[in-house]
Symmetry: C2
Subunit: 313 residues, 2 copies
């Protein structure tokens, strides 16, 4: 097996076969399951499905870092309210939930979508994962990159459907996954058009507008794509509705990524309800430890290996 084979990081077996058979069925014009290229839509959850989400979901890590490091933010936090919130962060993490409204207002109100994008990109360039010590965009899953590529090569359009905000993933999804911002969907805040020196700008408002999780993922797919996905990948209960939605297509591929590899990544359960859905609806359950020969891209894997060697010296 070479790296140029499709799905080179997937161990030969039922899951790899399921993907290849599915591709063959829907793209073979002679097949009763043939699907026209314009309807080859695949939807992918992001955190835990395309990249690592432990020890914390990366966007949460980003927000924490940003709260504590004013210098890389386009809008510094200062004044009494921020002092109060900073005190809360230090002393009462629980109480922070109550401060969310204040926090959003102080943190995001009036920041343009362009500034926000630069700010995420700046952070992604600097931040390092606490365990793997590399930038977060290097912790994408190599087997899933191969799925995205294989799908693209067969006329599919791949969409991210993240529970996180679109303002976060759109800052890097094109580079990381070859998925442009118009195909990167996520939770949203309200926005507002403002004018300054004769130029229009779109600013974020501190008002939650759309939560892209659970059934919200179906609404988001319907609102933005308005075509029925025929493939969907997820890893948690927030993806059940999305996988069911794809599963209602005549021919479909629904896969749930099960994090079973504490050594190479993390091991945690998606929950009883999710595993029951896998069984009830006959979805493919990917066992990361057994089904994936490699977790991270080659460069990352080599870097991690050399770090282990350095530590051992």
């Amino acid at each position: 097996m070479t790296a140029h084979q499709p799905l080179a990081s997937w161990r030969p077996g039922p899951r790899r076969d399921a993907i290849l058979n599915f591709i063959n069925q829907v793209t073979n014009p002679g097949s009763p399951c043939y699907v026209a290229p314009e309807d080859r839509i695949a939807t992918f959850d992001h955190d835990g499905t395309l990249w690592v989400e432990k020890p914390d979901v990366t966007e949460i890590t980003f927000i924490k870092d940003l709260m504590l490091h004013d210098e890389i933010r386009p809008k510094p936090l200062c004044g009494t309210v921020w002092g109060f919130i900073r005190h809360s962060i230090a002393v009462f993490m629980d109480k922070l939930l109550q401060d969310t409204r204040w926090l959003l207002r102080e943190w995001i109100d009036g920041v343009s979508t362009d500034d926000n994008k630069r700010w995420v990109q700046c952070w992604l360039g600097k931040a390092r994962h606490p365990r793997f010590h590399c930038p977060y965009p290097q912790l994408v899953y190599q087997p899933m990159l191969e799925v995205l590529t294989l799908f693209r090569q067969h006329g599919f359009r791949n969409y991210l459907v993240s529970g996180g905000s679109c303002y976060f993933i759109r800052a890097f999804s094109e580079q990381a996954y070859g998925i442009g911002p118009e195909q990167a969907l996520g939770s949203q805040l309200r926005t507002k058009v403002t004018e300054k020196n004769g130029r229009l700008s779109v600013e974020l408002k501190p008002i939650p507008w759309f939560l892209d999780n659970g059934k919200g993922k179906v609404l988001c797919i319907e609102s933005h794509i308005d075509r029925h996905p025929i493939a969907a990948f997820g890893n948690s209960s927030g993806d059940i509705a999305m996988l069911r939605w794809a599963g209602q297509s005549k021919t479909s591929l629904c896969m749930l990524i099960h994090h079973t590899d504490a050594e190479r990544e993390y091991a945690y359960c998606p929950g009883e309800k999710t595993l029951k859905a896998v069984s009830d609806y006959g979805w493919q359950l990917v066992d990361m430890k057994n089904d994936w020969l490699q977790i991270f891209p080659v460069a990352t894997a080599e870097q991690l290996k050399s770090e282990v060697v350095s530590s051992a010296l």
Copy 2:
């Protein structure tokens, strides 16, 4: 000039040259104005820009027809409330505005997006324009179809950004304009996921969710595309913000369609404010009477001609 020439329905002159020069500038790799294919985004208002919007905006005509003809609706209107509304329609059109909330609830609540699409398609197959006596999808503007084609041939992605609802235009935009539903944006209602016999369905709720007009068009473009359009076409004050947004790109083409042809289509003014914006921002003003050699597609034009002949017999 042959029909295979680009922009065959445009009279040679400044507007036709502006489009061809723009295409040349942004697609020529040697040009300082070169734009990579992924950023070649063009946005088009729909009513009055891509097809006829007189004597009434077609979606309004659709709604009026549907209110008065129960038999083609998936959800018949009956009962006291509907009787009351029907009375209002007949007697007091002004009062109808007050009944909008009731009407929306009675009319749309619980209708699935799939049913709604079938319903629009059914109506488009039956309804005839009161002046031209042909189906509405035949009243698209031939010169604009040529712009869409030319753009597509040069790596552009064309988006509809309609003030009307996406539920209406998505039912025919792929067939009429080669623009799939994922690139047809418009005003939206809230939606809800419901379950029946183990299958999920997306239903429309009678709650306005997003008005895609004026500055709303900019918010819609930012939310759905998150790339700066470099070309935009509109015809009314509701398109000013969208044209300004495209105009902020380094190289851009902004065109306002001016309806000046009472004989072949209609003549009406987009309003002082809009004409001032054309002048202030240096946009192209298309004079339909002078700049368009032909208004409707060949088939429609021939049909209209033969109808005139029949009437004259």
